[in-house]
Symmetry: D2
Subunit: 299 residues, 4 copies
């Protein structure tokens, strides 16, 4: 049986790798955190010294890394994947990074007769744990997509074929820009309405059955007490942090500049999360905490 290479065993990647193990896959793994790799060794995985060891041992490689430079390094460093990559290898990158970097790495892989797809994910830590993630896949062609899908199916429930390489990042970045704006917008509207005398639940009720409805209002409302079981009800602990949102919005701004597409609300949302991400009161909190930033009696 072939071995799957897995690089990046963090909050998301760790759960994803374990779902492969649960499905009986053999893994060779790499992460900078040695405590984590030792756990995976204990669970029966081979542990690589360098990404290059992975490419030498496996022809199906998954990467789940924090940012564009990390992906670039894992591929192009002296001990990087490209050093030893075998013809016919399928590289699946589930990091959320600049589209331009995905395209660059794809080209480098192609020169080595390997395939590279971008397959960023949504669904959060819970989705990673329960193998219910959505993968937004830019595979370039249907055959490559099907080859990837056979593996991604073990970690998610919704594998979307978006066509050209880079399209996965595009979809992820656009969705998250929209999300980042909407969370601030819902926070503004809820706070304004409460200041005008409305009950929070009554206002959310109106919005959620009207033209203002959105996921940030009807599923992830940032006002404590409106919806149970989400971060806003638990002091904004857990969830999707303000600095991760600031990072995703910076990818959207990079893409805007590259394509010259104007994004006035996207850029303002980026600045607002940047302010939060630098403030100790907000930086470790779920991005819904922007409601507290705007709220009157919070200070």
């Amino acid at each position: 049986m072939s071995v799957i290479g897995f690089i990046g065993l963090g909050n998301m990647g760790g759960h994803m790798a374990r779902n492969l193990l649960k499905n009986g896959k053999k893994l060779i793994v790499y992460d900078v955190n040695k405590t984590v790799t030792e756990q995976f060794r204990a669970e029966g995985c081979e542990v690589a010294q360098h990404p290059a060891d992975i490419a030498a041992a496996s022809k199906e490689i998954i990467t789940v890394l924090p940012s564009s430079p990390h992906v670039k390094q894992v591929y192009t460093n002296d001990n990087g994947l490209l050093k030893t990559i075998q013809p016919g290898t399928l590289c699946m990158d589930s990091s959320t990074i600049d589209q331009i970097v995905s395209l660059e790495v794809a080209q480098l892989a192609q020169k080595k007769k390997a395939e590279y797809i971008d397959a960023p994910i949504s669904g959060g830590v819970t989705g990673a744990q329960n193998a219910t993630l959505t993968f937004m896949v830019g595979a370039g062609n249907d055959r490559t997509f099907e080859r990837a899908k056979a593996i991604l199916d073990l970690m998610g429930k919704n594998i979307v074929n978006l066509g050209a390489v880079g399209n996965g990042q595009a979809a992820k970045i656009c969705n998250n820009m929209l999300l980042g704006i909407q969370m601030i917008a819902v926070s503004e509207a809820m706070n304004l309405g409460i200041n005008m005398g409305l009950d929070a639940k009554a206002l959310a009720g109106i919005i959620n059955t009207s033209s203002g409805r959105c996921w940030s209002s009807d599923t992830y409302n940032p006002v404590p007490g409106v919806i149970e079981g989400i971060p806003s009800g638990k002091g904004y602990a857990g969830g999707f942090g303000t600095s991760l949102m600031a990072k995703d919005l910076s990818l959207a701004q990079n893409a805007s500049t590259n394509t010259q597409a104007p994004t006035p609300l996207g850029s303002l949302a980026h600045q607002i999360y940047r302010i939060l991400a630098r403030d100790p009161h907000y930086q470790a909190k779920d991005f819904g905490v922007v409601y507290q930033f705007l709220k009157k009696s919070n200070f």
Copy 2:
């Protein structure tokens, strides 16, 4: 049988008044447009010379007017409603106006021992025509709400009791601020994604099943061809005009200033619609035309 007073027979009010007629109600009507009032006379309504004639003849009065000053004038002018209003009269204002003006007029009505509720509407011209409007009602108490509901039921299908007078305006303004922001945000995200290489329908598909979903994306998408039968597919004809959106956002900004609630995205959205509302290419179009304003090859 008692007669209902109706002031403001425009795009919305005209249909609403006719739904009362269909339900067998007797009306006394007033509008500045004499062509319209003659039509209503031909349909069997009494036509008043002044608002004051309405208040003298009816104890249930509906107003559907374009802006705060119009409402104030209809009530307080020399020939206004307050001149002749009878104790026990119920005034139902379905205009979308400043909350502060609703509260002022309510107080003036109370001095004359009349009741005033704010009951702004959503659902558009189609909703007005088909009697499927939502009424957001600030009635002050349940008895008054029930008295109003008996009439509003003839014009809408969803009559929401929001409590204190002014709360109807608050809910309407907050929802529409959110809507105005989301339409720009969806336009930015769709335009960015298309510039990054995505197919518009594929991108909308991702967003509408992800955390970025909202009414402006899944029901009223501003990109031509994504959804059939809405203004974006018909050159942005009909629908909800940019200048109406600019007006609703100005109400939100007034409320923000009154309550000192910060609304950074709301204020930027306001400015963007103001720019559109002053440009002949955009001012008579549905507010989804902001997508064309942001789009690359449009100029």
Copy 3:
């Protein structure tokens, strides 16, 4: 000798009134703060019970009040100026308020055959103390301007004739909107440059001799240590508070909405000062403290 009426003896008005006394003028004064009026009584002024007493006793009346509603009340209340105002009276309002309110009050005064000019001031507490204020005067005609100038000259050194009533407010509001934007812009640029490795004084030196120069950079730089003797060097104590700036920017936003003039940066600046004005760390500080809000290591 005629007596001058003076209403509003606060931070600015108090110094202004004393400059009239120094020039040998007789005053009748009014303020809601009785401690202050007793001081003026001790300095030889008559103290009025109500604004109406002032209008009965004086034909030259100066008002220096915090906001539009205050001005409206002082004129139109039951014991307001308009109750007793004498034909030929000259009302000089040095408050910074909505232009629309200036125009309203001017009209009410005119009905009583009195004159009303708006004459908002710049120059701060120091200028008020040293009689070096600038008055931006909307007098309507040159004769009225000259009549006012004879008195304003005792409190300022620069009395500018801007023509129609309301033009004083227009000039003040536009200048202060520009100022509010520039202070944030200088804070952003200085903070960015320092984060990029520049010395603050070297950067200010470049800006102040280049196309980016402005008063907020070369005279009132918000970075501590760049310029001596201003609030940024004293923990942002004194100076022009964030809530006063938020108020002036709200006047600019009201005027933008009335005239439909788009002000995207003005509206964003307004929101930023509103956020500061509600935060106990910033609300009592000079408006240059926005630099600290944006600065990295501040939190």
Copy 4:
């Protein structure tokens, strides 16, 4: 006598190179535009086939290029400067580019034992023509600065020593971000004031003697007729184009993201110029044309 290498003979570089010729310097030049290089050949310059020819022939090299990728290519391409660069060469880059690229290229030059300074310029085409430019120099040490100054003095009148390599770009980027914001801010304030009834010159007069004064108001006012002899009086022809401003603001946004420094007004200004730079009515015009974009009767 030694020969100076010069790469980039556009609007700015062309005049700068001619000022060196006027001072008796020998030049070897390179530009992608062959018409331009033939003119320089006719004026007695040697013309290089590739940047590498320049580095082989000269130990003092000036580059004036449009953007970061151009600079990177001229240095690192197969026939780039680094291919043949001689130890002890002084590279002076007067392009306005990302600080991060300046630092990268400086490091590559250092590996070849050459020196690299960033020396972006201000003063416009007129300054380039009349040798009155300001050079903002990041030279790393005083000896290198003095070596560069001996040459830069022939093209400018103000050579500022800002210390570390990269500091020139930092100063230029921060100044221009401030400039871009101020031009929009002045346009907003002038347009608002005119809409409120003020005469444009009277308003500019107040601002220019008050706390709102800045270069964009007192030297380069965007309202036609306020100042003579500048682009706003000539249909916004000539001057500094909207797309150049959009580009400089994109450098500021890149720097903001790299340093995590929040720049809310800078990012909104960036988006506004991006909208202008994509509109045929505005894209070839001086950046003061933003006034026309905001103005009421323009459409």
